[in-house]
């Protein structure tokens, strides 16, 4: 992506005006830099987007460079849950339980068309949840079917910028 797009701060200004915290002290800046560069995800992959996520973690596009060093198998130890894949109605309570078990601060990345809005199963399906935001609050949406590894990396970078704009002490979170 172009350097100008990465440094584009207009969307961040919108985010700040809508209620994200503006006051950052130096301590907050350092803490947020540390937090954003070491998000550890929970192992969660339901379908084809999970393969793309594994490809992103492999050696060609490596997301350990971005701080996603290791996947935690236990939700108690994870920071982010990257929902890669289709969520069916049988899986939805299980996912909600996993999210409830994660400890604050936690984030959600909806990866792929199925997690964003139901994807190719939006019409005429009796068992697919139309988008994960019917059950959970999502921070970053990554469209694509499946999104390229570079798109997933872009989404992770956006999440990092979002974390850096938060105030660690006074963190507002939208509860659902």
């Amino acid at each position: 992506m172009k350097y100008e797009d990465f440094k584009d701060n207009e969307t961040l200004k919108l985010f700040e005006q809508s209620g994200g915290n503006i006051l950052l002290t130096t301590v907050d800046a350092v803490i947020n830099w540390g937090r954003s560069n070491s998000v550890w995800p929970l192992t969660f992959a339901t379908s084809c987007c999970g393969i793309e996520m594994m490809a992103t973690g492999a050696s060609r596009h490596d997301f350990a460079r971005f701080g996603i060093e290791v996947y935690r198998a236990s939700p108690r130890q994870a920071d982010v849950i990257v929902i890669a894949g289709t969520i069916v109605r049988k899986m939805a309570p299980v996912l909600k339980r996993l999210y409830d078990q994660m400890s604050e601060p936690k984030y959600i990345v909806a990866m792929g068309a199925c997690a964003v809005s139901g994807g190719p199963f939006y019409y005429n399906s009796y068992s697919v949840v139309r988008g994960v935001d019917e059950i959970l609050p999502v921070d970053v949406y990554i469209p694509g079917c499946p999104p390229r590894p570079e798109a997933l990396l872009y989404g992770i970078m956006q999440l990092q910028r979002k974390i850096q704009k938060e105030s660690f002490v006074n963190r507002k979170k939208i509860q659902k």
Partner: protein, 152 residues
């Protein structure tokens, strides 16, 4: 055995069956109460060893429910298709073949899950894929109505 000999064999065992010609496999429509006996004979007799049930599926034609069994032999490499019909849509039942071919255990649970067809003497007759609390009814039937579906 080729199709002619198989046809004669099936007609001697179950004379009321209907044979359909000109399909890829030899297709036999049996009455539901003769199914188990015919299947057992086809499996265990020495000259037609149909020991591999490679597909079991349910079908919903508008007024009848049907179950289709595809059999093949790993010894003689011949195939046959058995079909059973019922017009009872409220409580359809057939005999299970899971004591003859063990793979039918899971396949018949899938047919029950999606069509509602029960199998008598099945060891574990319950849903296998769908969740009873969120999906009520049997989705693959033609008259299935779902309030939450978004049509196109």
């Amino acid at each position: 055995m080729n199709n002619e000999e198989l046809k004669n064999r099936v007609l001697t065992l179950v004379p009321e069956s209907i044979i359909t010609e000109n399909k890829q496999f030899l297709t036999v429509i049996v009455p539901p109460d003769k199914l188990h006996k015919l299947a057992e004979e086809l499996r265990y007799s020495e000259d037609t060893v149909f020991d591999y049930l490679f597909c079991l599926s349910g079908v919903d034609l508008k007024d009848t429910l049907m179950v289709v069994y595809h059999l093949t032999s790993t010894v003689y490499y011949h195939d046959i298709v058995l079909k059973v019909n019922t017009t009872d849509r409220i409580n359809p039942q057939f005999d299970t073949v899971s004591d003859i071919w063990r793979t039918a255990d899971f396949n018949e649970r899938e047919v029950y899950d999606f069509f509602g067809i029960k199998f008598n003497n099945h060891p574990d007759m319950r849903r296998i894929f769908l969740d009873e609390t969120t999906i009520k009814g049997f989705p693959f039937r033609k008259d299935y109505v779902d309030k939450n579906i978004i049509e196109r």
